[in-house]
């Protein structure tokens, strides 16, 4: 399913369809997370990936037009680079522990303590919240900082919608 969507995304030249397909892709990924019992992640993926990102894509498309520029020829160095990276990733994936293996290193380090002790140390029944907001609150603070920086960057590049219109009115008054 994901493979079919990815190939379709690569082949289609109509950007409106591509934006819609990325939304569907996110929704499928959200269902996949849901099947793995990662409800918190599925939530975020459905709202951000399938919802808000698609709207931002469509808003951008309404400004730049919906046709992708045709690709004239295949860029051989780029193709070689991508193929090499893909081969490396496939090679590295051979060393990964089997999916759901309880002996995997990631399940041996701090996870047992989170599962057995978090109710006594932090309290909330949702361990994800305990890890996110208490054990790893430095990480979360950094993540909020990243989101904050993204907003500052967009504001600097695009400007805030309302202020821009005021500026234009001021310009119009200055011009005549």
């Amino acid at each position: 399913m994901l493979l079919v969507l990815s190939v379709a995304l690569l082949r289609i030249r109509d950007l409106f369809t591509v934006a819609m397909l990325t939304g569907i892709y996110s929704l499928v990924i959200a269902c996949f997370f849901m099947l793995q019992d990662a409800v918190d992640v599925a939530f975020t993926e459905a709202a951000v990936g399938a919802g808000i990102t698609t709207v931002l894509f469509l808003t951008t498309l309404s400004m730049v037009g919906r046709e992708e520029a045709p690709i004239s020829r295949i860029n051989l160095p780029a193709l070689a680079c991508v193929a090499a990276c893909g081969a490396l990733l496939l090679y590295a994936s051979q060393d990964m522990p089997a999916w759901g293996d309880p002996q995997a290193p990631v399940h041996q380090h701090v996870a047992p303590r989170y599962i057995t002790e978090s109710a006594a140390e932090v309290g909330p029944p949702n361990i994800v919240t305990s890890v996110l907001a208490s054990y790893r609150s430095y990480d979360t603070m950094g993540e909020v900082g990243v989101v904050f920086t993204a907003a500052i960057g967009v504001l600097l590049l695009l400007g805030n919608g309302a202020r821009r219109r005021e500026d234009n009115e001021d310009d119009a008054e200055d011009q005549p």
Binding site: L56, S62, P124, T129, S137, G159
Partner: protein
Amino acid sequence: MIQKPSSMRENPILRGVTSITLGPILLFAWYVQWHGDYGPGGGFQAGVIFAAAIIAYALIYGLDRAQHFIPPKAAEIGVMSGWLLYIGTGVLNMLLGANFLDYDVLASDPLHGQHYGILAVELGVGITVAAVMIVLFYAFAGRRHR
């Protein structure tokens, strides 16, 4: 280019569905925000759900009415104040004699302290994420008016 959104806005089905679902979506965001420590969810999820409701409102009823409801200035202040609330909770812990972001000292009982601390930082996360999403949408959609 401008014809399409305006015809979408006049579509009675879209207008009706939006006006019916908007309230439940906002309520659900509120629920996800405060119930994140008992069920799935938390600040990030609540923030994007809230922002999605505002964006849906702006898409159907127009950017101006959405900006009347949440002014761009308020969204920008939200971007900052959420993160400041997060860091401020950490600093408050330091003032009370514990480590940065160690919530045990916020109440007489460490477990209650942890609970208050988590609620505070999750609220900070929620405010920042919702405000950032709204600011991004305003910035993108505002350019179309030029």
